[in-house]
């Protein structure tokens, strides 16, 4: 689900796609005015080095919104033959920001369309931005999608409280703090790196974050938010009445009922207009219209919990599987989502719940599941729990059940050769939630066909006949698919390569790498129970297990002479892996990939060279 907490900062220069063009010069002047306005001037000169470059830089998008006005000062092309062309108004457009799941947003892009330009031409763009930030902080990507010959960034006017942080290395750049600001110059600056399995921050390159005046600690960011919503009517009579009607036998039961109520009765609709990107609507309004975005739903839940005597806190979070809020630079513009934190003491038994640092976290935008269900994109994230005078960053927990996938196959020999049996595929968490929604809306034959296709992918070479699917009963969204399967084997063949795909990345990912590796990997278990045909013996492949701080890979082969059971289990416990932990990840990769690559031979005599 897309959630709306639109950041008011966009890495403008990164908006184009990958290109080998050369940024001859990029100059950004940011002036923080005493009246709170911020004026930016941008000057960009890009040389077209290949015929494909122009398409990568045109149309060039610049973010616009109710609070951010753009003035194009000059746009044109200087050709290698000495001629030049100034672009007219027809080259400019303003495009509304659209996206899946967003009903309305006030964000737009001012675009500049450059004409076809021969190699050697220089695209020139100068523009001015004037904004009144809702929160006194902003950010700027230092790298571009193309190498930059000359980079100049100057920020001034920030006063004594100016602060900054650059989250990444800055080779070929000189960073000079100046009173009330900063200067960064660079020559021959590299372009944004390309990384597989990287964090969003590493893939974007170093980002300059800066702030001025006002809030500079996370406590301050919390107070800023509370000031923003200070006049929001809360505790209205109808909300209180509704909450009272949903009181349970104890706090946990009440929390469960209220969470379910907000999840199911208030549908998620993403609408953002200006400050509405930060400020929720009143709980009474959200209750009445029965739709809202993440902060609307969170605020209503907090209000209802409050009415039921349970204190709860709005919690800003970045919903992402490959990015994290920079905890060392307090600012409001790093978040994109709001959830709710409740003191864990109100929950009673905590097993399976998303609990961290004395708080239980719940996301009211999740449509399926109960109190234990906490989506993977909000796990292990720096969340700002907002509490008057005591706002703080808390790392949300990493839970075991965010995304688990289990395949169970039981096979017996067929008289005609080969095997037949049953297969079950069980999902819980993120994927199960998506399948359950699918099951509710698709025609039965379409859903069955898709499920059958998925089962076939796990049993390649076999015949798969879907039999049924069942919904899980527990707190987590869960679904199980069942099928009957047959597997033909050529005469005389006594080996199988079990169809399972390694989930860890290839070893080459680790080579020469400095950046963290971010793994988005489910907890996966595959179990095969095979009844041995006459004359077959259990495979001699050894059981193995590698377990360390990063995760676990286990292959277990057991036989009682009649049946052989082969189980493989992969689990990543730490999805952000630092360089010093690469050797541990390497152990897991080697074990998992090699186990998956090896065939299982059911020969009773050991092949030569093995024993």
């Amino acid at each position: 689900m897309r959630r709306l907490w639109l950041s008011l900062t966009v890495n403008l220069v990164l908006a184009g796609s990958v290109s080998p063009a050369t940024v001859l010069s990029r100059t950004v002047e940011v002036t923080i005015e005493p009246d709170g306005r911020v004026v930016e001037t941008h000057a960009l000169r890009v040389r077209i080095d290949a015929s494909s470059d122009r398409d990568d830089w045109s149309p060039y998008p610049i973010l616009v919104n109710d609070n951010r006005k753009i003035q194009i000062l000059f746009a044109g092309v200087e050709r290698a033959d000495g001629t030049s062309q100034k672009l007219d108004k027809k080259a400019l457009d303003t495009l509304g920001l659209t996206g899946e799941g967003i009903l309305h947003a006030s964000q737009k892009f001012r675009t500049v369309a450059f004409p076809e330009s021969p190699v050697g031409s220089v695209l020139v763009l100068n523009y001015r931005v004037e904004l009144r930030p809702y929160f006194p902080a902003d950010s700027l990507s230092l790298l571009s999608v193309s190498p930059t010959d000359s980079l100049k960034i100057r920020i001034s006017g920030g006063g004594a409280a100016f602060r900054y942080r650059i989250d990444g290395p800055t080779p070929n750049m000189v960073v000079t703090p100046v009173p009330g600001g900063i200067e960064i110059t660079g020559t021959k600056v590299s372009k944004v790196p390309k990384l597989e399995y990287g964090s969003r921050m590493d893939m974007d390159g170093p980002t300059l974050r800066y702030g001025w005046g006002g809030p500079s600690r996370w406590e301050d960011v919390g107070e800023w938010y509370l000031g923003l919503v200070g006049d929001l009517p809360a505790g209205g009579p109808t909300v209180r009445q509704e909450a009272a009607g949903l009181k349970g036998a104890d706090d946990r039961a009440t929390i469960q009922k209220l969470v379910e109520h907000v999840r199911t009765k208030v549908r998620y609709v993403a609408v953002e207009v200006g400050i509405g990107g930060y400020r929720p609507h009143s709980p009474e309004e959200v209750r009445t219209k029965a739709w809202g975005d993440c902060k609307d739903k969170a605020t209503l839940l907090i209000d209802m919990l409050g009415a039921a005597g349970i204190e709860a806190f709005p919690t800003l979070i970045l919903s992402s599987n490959d990015a994290r809020v920079d905890a060392d630079f307090p600012s409001a513009d790093q978040f994109n989502h709001m959830i709710v934190a409740i003191p864990q003491t109100r929950l009673g038994a905590l097993a399976g719940l998303a609990v961290s640092d004395g708080l239980y976290f719940v996301d009211p935008t999740q449509e399926k599941g109960g109190l234990s269900w906490f989506g993977s994109s909000t796990q292990d994230q720096n969340a700002l729990v907002i509490k008057r005078g005591a706002s703080r960053i808390v790392r949300t927990p990493r839970l075991h059940g965010g995304d688990t996938r289990t395949t169970d196959v039981q096979m017996s020999p067929r008289a005609a050769g080969g095997f037949e049996g049953q297969a079950r595929l069980h999902f819980s968490g993120d994927l199960a939630s998506a399948f359950l929604a699918d099951a509710a809306t698709r025609r039965a034959e379409d859903f069955r066909g898709t499920a059958e296709s998925m089962l076939r992918a796990r049993l390649p070479g076999g015949d798969v006949k879907f039999t049924e699917w069942t919904r899980g009963e527990g707190d987590l969204p869960a679904i199980t698919f069942s099928a009957s399967v047959t597997l033909g084997l050529a005469p005389g063949v006594r080996s199988l390569v079990l169809p399972s795909r390694p989930l860890t990345p290839p070893l080459s990912t680790l080579e020469g790498r400095e950046a963290d590796i971010v793994l988005d990997v489910p907890v996966a278990t595959t179990r095969w129970k095979v009844e041995l045909p006459q004359g077959w013996c259990a495979p001699r492949a050894p059981s193995q297990s590698v377990e360390n701080e990063i995760g676990l890979f286990r292959q277990k082969i057991e036989s009682d002479g009649k049946f052989v059971t082969i189980e493989r289990h992969t689990e990543i416990r730490q999805n952000w892996v630092k360089k010093e932990q690469f050797p541990k990840l390497r152990e897991l990769i080697l074990a998992e990939h090699r186990a998956n690559a090896r065939s299982l031979r059911f020969e009773c005599e050991a092949p030569a060279g093995l024993d």
Binding site: P20, L92, K194, T441, R594
Partner: protein, 645 residues
């Protein structure tokens, strides 16, 4: 962009009075509607339209109607939690398709009526330049059992914006009806496509000054959304009152009467745009110096294709300010303007040609019996009489070679533009044999069980077109193919990648070296799937021939072939040699030839999958295709193990 009113702009001095459009209220909600819990025949449907109603008032100039009007009223019931997603309605509109009213209300299961207020209504510009907008509403207090009602009106000036009425939707529709208000002065005809057995009935009444014709149908299923299905506009049961000509005492104006009428109207603008192209003539001469015959046409096509920026637009119209000299000077133009420029350039070097109006079939089929220039999104140039006669030139698509068409234009209905006698043609379909995807791997396994070697992938025809990105940088191209190779051949390190992309020849070749990665080397065995890197095939058709609801149209036909040569050291051998197989299903065929040579410790494996036709003609042929995929999927999945024995 202002859609030029080709016929009306200069002819009529329009009055300012608005059409007296007032839609009748929807019938009261019945008890059956209130009690409805499951859509009849579609228990999986999360919501159902209880009624969809349209009123299309066609402009009457003699009454000084300012515009034509489409009024839409709908009543939808939410049947499941997931059906709440239908509680946001989005209407795109523009300067020339103007939204004048948009209202909605929720009727809760207990009968309470709650209007969508200003807080639930949003208007936003999609593009300032093209004046495209979107207005959305979010219904309040929606729960399972709620009934949602909405209505809106769109106003437009040109009869070319008249679209068919679609009786079906992505969810089931219990009742769909459309009333056309047709001025007596408008000559028209009825065009109907009653797909899915829709029983479309008609009630017709003569009113003062116009005919009121109501078409309606009941119990319509949802439109299918199936792989390789047709677009919605080709699938839904639909009808249209086709405005053919407007005739009163002052005016006799042909409209969508015939392709001839359409072509004649547009031709005046084409002639004006191409009149006295002085700069174009000079350019044509300079571009073709030293060239002869086809070379001239190709040089001019490349120039227009590569040097003139394509501005996105639809339709066969050209703005009245456009001339080919201006397009040349500015270096940009719409697909129509580029075609006019190419034709003028060709004419300047004495190569006669014709303009062909064509459309990408993914947007819906062009219908010969429904003359509407708005269908088209591309104008091709066909050489005639002499040099390269009959060759089609596409002045837009950078991945197409000389005389080639993209697979989405092949076999479609197109119109040869001619002011006097336009011709309906079907664009040619190339044989499956001209589109090939061929991969070859040569691997050797050493005594330590390391497999290494080289591979190549050669694409031709449509396969090359699909992957050719002639405007993509060399670096991006290399990244793309590196990722493809690593994904297609897991367990191998891919190095020394070379790519030769020749879009003008319709050919693309990728080569690489490959070696087993450390984590996949076991020492005593090597396993791999020999259908890689093109396979293993997956069955795309997840429902059976009896369950499939829509016709099948594959992207294109073609041949996919793999050849793998493997050698191994002494003492090693395949654990289970791959089996040869051949199945010919008529529309497609699958063949595996595998030969193990113990004398040379080698295996030669060949696999070929042919799709000979992109459209099965009936369910029997579809079943044959589907069954072949099932067979191919199983065989393609086989793993070959070569082990030290």
């Amino acid at each position: 962009m202002f859609r030029k009113s080709i016929f009306f702009g200069a002819v009529f001095a329009l009055g300012a009075g608005a059409a007296s459009f007032a839609a009748e209220k929807l019938p009261p909600i019945s008890q059956a509607d209130r009690d409805l819990k499951v859509a009849p025949g579609e228990p999986s449907a999360s919501a159902v339209f209880l009624i969809q109603r349209g009123t299309i008032h066609l402009r009457n100039f003699s009454l000084q109607d300012a515009s034509s009007t489409i009024g839409v009223q709908a009543r939808l019931k939410v049947l499941k939690e997931e059906g709440k997603s239908h509680a946001e309605i989005v209407i795109p509109h523009s300067d020339y398709l103007r939204l004048s009213r948009f209202e909605g209300r929720t009727i809760t299961p207990d009968g309470k009526v709650i209007k969508v207020d200003s807080k639930g209504k949003f208007k936003r510009k999609v593009s300032e330049t093209t004046k495209r907008l979107v207005t959305s509403i979010a219904f309040p207090s929606v729960e399972v059992g709620s009934i949602l009602e909405y209505e809106y009106e769109l106003n437009f000036n040109s009869f070319y914006y008249v679209e068919p009425w679609y009786f079906m939707d992505e969810i089931p529709v219990l009742q769909s009806e459309v009333t056309w208000e047709i001025p007596n002065q408008l000559k028209s005809r009825v065009w109907t496509v009653p797909n899915f057995g829709a029983d479309i009935k008609l009630d017709q009444k003569q009113r003062t000054g116009f005919i009121e014709a109501k078409f309606y149908a009941s119990n319509l299923p949802s439109t299918p959304s199936e792989i390789y299905g047709l677009p919605f506009r080709d699938q839904a049961a639909r009808m249209m009152v086709v405005p053919m000509a407007y005739r009163d005492q002052d005016v006799n104006l042909p409209l969508l009467e015939s392709w001839a009428a359409v072509a004649e109207g547009i031709d005046k603008d084409y002639l004006r745009a191409q009149a006295k192209p002085l700069q174009v003539a000079l350019k044509a001469t300079s571009l073709t110096v030293g060239k002869e015959g086809d070379e001239k046409a190709e040089a001019l096509r490349r120039f227009v294709r590569d040097e003139i920026t394509t501005l996105p637009d639809y339709g066969a119209w050209v703005e009245d300010t456009v001339t080919v000299d201006k397009v040349l000077a500015k270096g940009e133009g719409t697909p129509v303007a580029k075609a006019l420029l190419l034709q003028s350039l060709l004419a300047a070097v004495d190569i006669p040609s014709q303009l062909i109006w064509a459309a990408d079939r993914r947007r819906g089929a062009v219908l010969g019996e429904l003359p509407n220039p708005g269908f088209f999104d591309r104008v091709l140039v066909r050489l005639s009489n002499g040099v390269g006669s009959g060759v089609f030139l596409d002045p837009v698509d950078r991945s197409l070679g000389y005389g080639r068409l993209s697979p989405y234009y092949e076999g479609t209905v197109a119109i040869v533009h001619d002011a006097k006698k336009p011709e309906t043609i079907t664009l040619p379909i190339t044989s499956f044999i001209t589109h090939t995807r061929y991969a070859k791997l040569d691997l050797a396994i050493d005594a330590e069980g390391r497999a290494a070697g080289k591979g190549e992938l050669a694409l031709k025809g449509h396969y090359a077109w699909e992957q050719s990105f002639s405007k993509r940088s060399a670096e991006e191209t290399k990244d793309f193919w590196q990722k493809w190779a690593e994904g297609a051949m897991p367990g191998y390190r891919i190095t020394a990648l070379t790519i030769v992309d020749r879009p003008d020849e319709g050919a693309l070749k990728v080569g690489w070296a490959m070696a087993a990665t450390e984590e996949s080397v076991l020492g005593d065995e090597v396993s791999f799937v020999p259908s890689r890197p093109i396979g293993p095939l997956r069955q795309p058709f997840t429902v059976t021939e009896s369950e499939r609801r829509s016709p099948v149209m594959l992207d294109h036909s073609g041949v996919e072939e793999i050849e793998v040569n493997v050698t191994w050291p002494k003492g090693w051998s395949p654990v289970a040699p791959p089996q040869s197989a051949f199945t010919d299903a008529g529309i497609a065929a699958y063949r595996v030839d595998a030969k193990v040579d113990p004398a040379t410790n080698s295996l030669n494996f060949k696999r070929r999958f042919e799709i000979r036709k992109r459209e099965p003609k009936d369910r029997v042929e579809f079943a044959a295709l589907r069954n072949l995929y099932t067979e191919a999927e199983k065989r393609d999945a086989q793993t070959l193990v070569i082990a030290h024995r």
